[in-house]
């Protein structure tokens, strides 16, 4: 029984380590990417091509004075960022990042590259935690005793709730195809190809579902074009206006970790996870590493895709944003859901 515990701890350490390292990389990519899109240089002073810039930022944020404005609901004010970070980190334990069943490490079996191997409500767990994410924003907005942050908090939470609905319904199509909540099952269902060259990824038959899921993912992570709440021009900094130093840093990190999780989900659900057309992953460590590399490549592409979208599309107005959410996204998701149902009934899918 102890072996499992150690294996899980190791996996946990690996996952958290990877996530935390990707955050500075993403910061860098974000800054350099936006510069590239806006045809400007971007940070290049610190380290080669500015690679060390994120490290310097981190040090800056950590060393800043831990300022707590008065009139603030003290306990809640401090609690909010921690909730955000905790939720972001704990969603990843359900995400499988490689095909690793049957592997053994130091003599004990590791049940695949997934932290909680047989949690068979996989995706539901993610949605549950997504719901918790809303709390951090709302509390942050409320407790910082500032009209802008309050408004920002309310706006972002209502935005997240409406898009959460769209995201859930769009995912249902995928679940019907793979008839299981567990993400590794979903990936298994996407191996193989149609007519030789088209890979059996969910994105092709459920294109509408894929699009709605991606848009919803953007909204969930408050990424541009949906980052109205902390839009600089509008509400100063939205819900985390009053936050500074480490608290602001944790919000910032939570946002990027959510970004990674979302892109991982997109890859797993719609782009076949670590499968490639025509390539059968061999068992054993070599196959595992290969699947890890493929999965990482796909996630990286989508991370870039997020940054790319952020710096190209203009921001939505709040009522447009809500209207898009309720009147377009949800109907589209339902249509996809119906389409999958009919297709499966007719045996196409």
């Amino acid at each position: 029984m102890w072996a499992d515990a150690i294996v899980t701890l190791i996996k946990l350490a690996v996952v958290i380590g990877v996530l935390l390292t990707t955050v500075p990389i993403m910061v860098w990519v974000e800054r350099r990417g936006s510069a590239l899109i806006q045809d400007r240089l971007g940070p290049n002073r610190v380290g080669p091509w500015g690679l060390l810039q994120p490290v310097v930022d981190a040090v800056k944020l950590i060393t800043k004075e831990n300022l707590i404005p008065d009139g603030v609901d003290h306990f809640l004010y401090i609690l909010a960022p921690f909730i955000a970070l905790a939720v972001a980190l704990s969603t990843f334990i359900v995400v499988p990042f490689g095909q690793g069943d049957g592997l053994t490490l130091f003599g004990s079996k590791i049940h695949g590259f997934i932290v909680a191997p047989d949690l068979n409500i996989g995706i539901l767990y993610i949605f549950a935690l997504a719901a918790f994410g809303v709390y951090s924003i709302v509390i942050a907005g409320w407790s910082s005793n500032n009209k802008y942050s309050l408004l920002g908090g309310i706006r972002s939470s209502s935005q997240m709730i409406s898009y959460e609905l769209a995201m859930t319904i769009s995912v249902v199509g995928v679940l019907m195809a793979s008839s299981s909540f567990r993400l590794d099952q979903v990936v298994m269902a996407q191996t193989g190809t149609w007519l030789g060259f088209i890979p059996k990824w969910n994105v092709f038959p459920q294109i509408i579902g894929a699009i709605t899921f991606m848009v919803a993912a953007f909204a969930e992570t408050n990424r541009l074009p949906f980052d109205l709440p902390e839009a600089e021009a509008e509400l100063v900094a939205g819900y985390h206006t009053e936050y500074s130093s480490m608290k602001f840093a944790s919000f910032f990190m939570a946002e990027y970790i959510n970004l990674v999780t979302s892109s991982a989900l997109i890859v797993l659900l719609f782009f076949g996870g670590w499968t490639l057309p025509g390539l059968t992953i061999p068992h054993g460590w070599a196959g595992a590493i290969l699947s890890l590399v493929i999965f990482a490549a796909k996630v990286a592409f989508f991370l870039w895709f997020f940054v790319w979208i952020r710096w190209t599309l203009p921001r939505f107005r709040f009522d447009q944003l809500m209207a898009l959410g309720w009147k377009v996204m949800i109907p589209l998701a339902v249509v996809n859901f119906l389409w999958v149902g009919v297709a499966m009934a007719l045996g196409i899918l």
Binding site: N120, V134, V138
Partner: protein, 166 residues
């Protein structure tokens, strides 16, 4: 080991339950209730009802309490009366009655023959599948009725909360 999880969750639930009804600030109440629901979800999971735990979290903690938070923020209730303030007698009587009810229930439970529980059979691969099937077969009517109820509640809430435009 499972019993320890249960005991921890139970303690958590009771402590935050008291906090949920006693604290003066409604936000704290809602948050402590979230923690209680979290603890309950944990208990459900331990009892092998994982789909239920997920639903509890998503629907209750995720949606209903957020709604509460919304309304609290909308009405901007900073702080609220102390527990049992106003109408002293009423408070005492109320407390006594509820405790009496609790006692009666506890005594009734005591008379139950102790029995060892178990995970619902046939739910090895997660309870989602069997629940889904029975919802769509044996319990189809209640399922449809609940949907009707939700629509009604939706419309009701809209009508009530709408600003008097006329």
């Amino acid at each position: 080991m499972v019993t320890y999880v249960f005991l921890a969750a139970a303690a958590l639930a009771i402590v935050f339950g008291i906090l949920a009804i006693a604290h003066r600030s409604p936000i704290i109440n809602v948050l402590s209730l979230v923690v209680v629901f979290f603890a309950l979800a944990a208990i459900y999971a331990v009892l092998g009802m994982d789909f239920l735990a997920a639903i509890q979290l998503i629907v209750y903690a995720g949606a209903v309490l957020v709604l509460f938070l919304f309304v609290i923020m909308l009405l901007n209730i900073r702080s609220v009366d102390r527990l049992g303030s106003g109408r002293r007698l009423q408070a005492i009587l109320g407390a006594l009655t509820s405790i009496a009810i609790g006692a009666a229930v506890v005594v009734a439970i005591a008379t139950l023959t102790p029995a060892q529980g178990a995970v619902a059979p046939g739910s090895q691969g997660g309870t989602a599948f069997p629940i889904g099937r029975s919802l769509m077969t044996t319990h189809l009517l209640p399922f449809e009725l609940v949907s009707l109820l939700l629509v009604a509640a939706l419309v009701g809430a809209l009508v009530l909360a709408r600003k008097e435009t006329r």
